[in-house]
Symmetry: C2
Subunit: 203 residues, 2 copies
DNA sequence: TCGGAAGTGGAGATTGTCTCCACTTTCATT
DNA sequence: AATGAAAGTGGAGACAATCTCCACTTCCGA
């Protein structure tokens, strides 16, 4: 993957600028100040002109998405690793717990995620899809195994995660987030159909 | 409570203006266009000056909150009525299902709710607190009864509801939201204290 | 009827976003 | 290594939304 990933030959200096922008943005992002800053300032702070900023990232959300994607990739890797080494239900449980941990540490991510969720319908599309895919896989594997019910899609789990991200500034966030995970996991286990070869998706 | 509620004697014409503003805002709110409009336009549409608008509602969020509160009051009344007429667990279940229904119909509320959640930490404080109180009561009653676990606070349920509100624009919203409610309810019932061995929760 | 406190409105200051284009840098070609 | 044109740059200023300020109007108790 290195720096680039798509089919776009980007000039050397352009790449350097893009990288500088991204680095500075990530820094600010992690500090949770992403939305307190004038957009133009990202340019100044990274030592480039505003025109350059806008060329690379047409909107604030586009920039956020770029940073966000890198964070998400880390999470998804974790998910894939878990899936390879643990039994499905355990993998799912661990991943969800880790997700909360991760958000707890990088709460810049949480705040930004929350804002993106409401502002840019499109912005998340890419990064979020990756995360969703990971969750879907984890859930599917557990359903396959028979330890988790099949009548409540992974989408519901995603929604619960959205809630955790969106509510990141509640006073007792950590405990409540853990509570949500507990409810979701126990809810998923409840009504599982162990050892039944076919489970019809009837409601 | 009628129109006034606090200890502030407001002049007659001022009250009229405030009301006009609120009425127009509610209209726009329900149409889901609340955040597509220039703030000053609320004044023009209501037939008052921008100064007046700002006097009554210092920020867009303050205005949203005022409208939002009215909607929330309706929901809370519903909760209180349920609590009086149904057994605790059923009351809780019904309320959560109804909440989704309500958001499904008034999705102006959903969108605004989602935005408020991330934007104005303070803005929701009041209206949201009322909603939270209602949920807390419902949960507490069910815990008391012994049909719901006590180790996962009502806050977790609120968080899940936030998720439902925040993700209101997902493609399969309705089904997924129902899924979340199912998970939360089943998760809550799982691990309940008392001697009741196990009863399949009504869907 | 009158005085002053409360409220109004909208012109324009302020602030953040984004566009435009004359100039600079890179790189494939020879 | 020199060259030309495509790719990229930067920042001045157009534009748009938010918010402030205060001369004026309206209300209401005495």
């Amino acid at each position: 993957m290195s720096t680039r990933g798509s089919a776009k030959p980007l000039r050397a200096d352009a790449q350097r600028n893009r990288q500088a922008l991204l680095a500075k943005a990530r820094e600010i992002f992690d500090a949770g100040e992403f939305f307190d800053l004038r957009f133009d300032d990202f340019a100044r702070l990274a030592g480039v002109g505003t025109g350059t900023l806008y060329r690379h990232f047409p909107t604030r959300e586009a920039l956020a998405e770029a940073v966000y994607r890198e964070e998400v990739v880390a999470l998804c890797d974790r998910a894939r690793r878990l899936q390879a080494t643990s039994p499905p239900l355990e993998a799912l449980a661990t991943f969800l717990r880790d997700f909360v941990d991760y958000l707890h540490e990088h709460h810049g991510l949480a705040r930004t995620l929350a804002t993106l969720m409401t502002t840019g319908s499109e912005a998340l599309a890419d990064g979020s899809r990756a995360l969703e895919e990971a969750v879907t896989d984890l859930v599917a594997a557990a359903v396959e195994e028979g330890t988790v019910r099949g009548d409540v899609g992974a989408g519901a789990v995603m929604m619960a995660l959205h809630g955790i991200g969106a509510a990141h500034d509640r006073p007792g966030w950590r405990a409540e987030a853990d509570g949500v995970i507990t409810l979701v996991l126990d809810g998923l286990v409840q009504g599982a159909q162990p050892s039944s070869p076919n489970d019809s998706p009837a409601r």
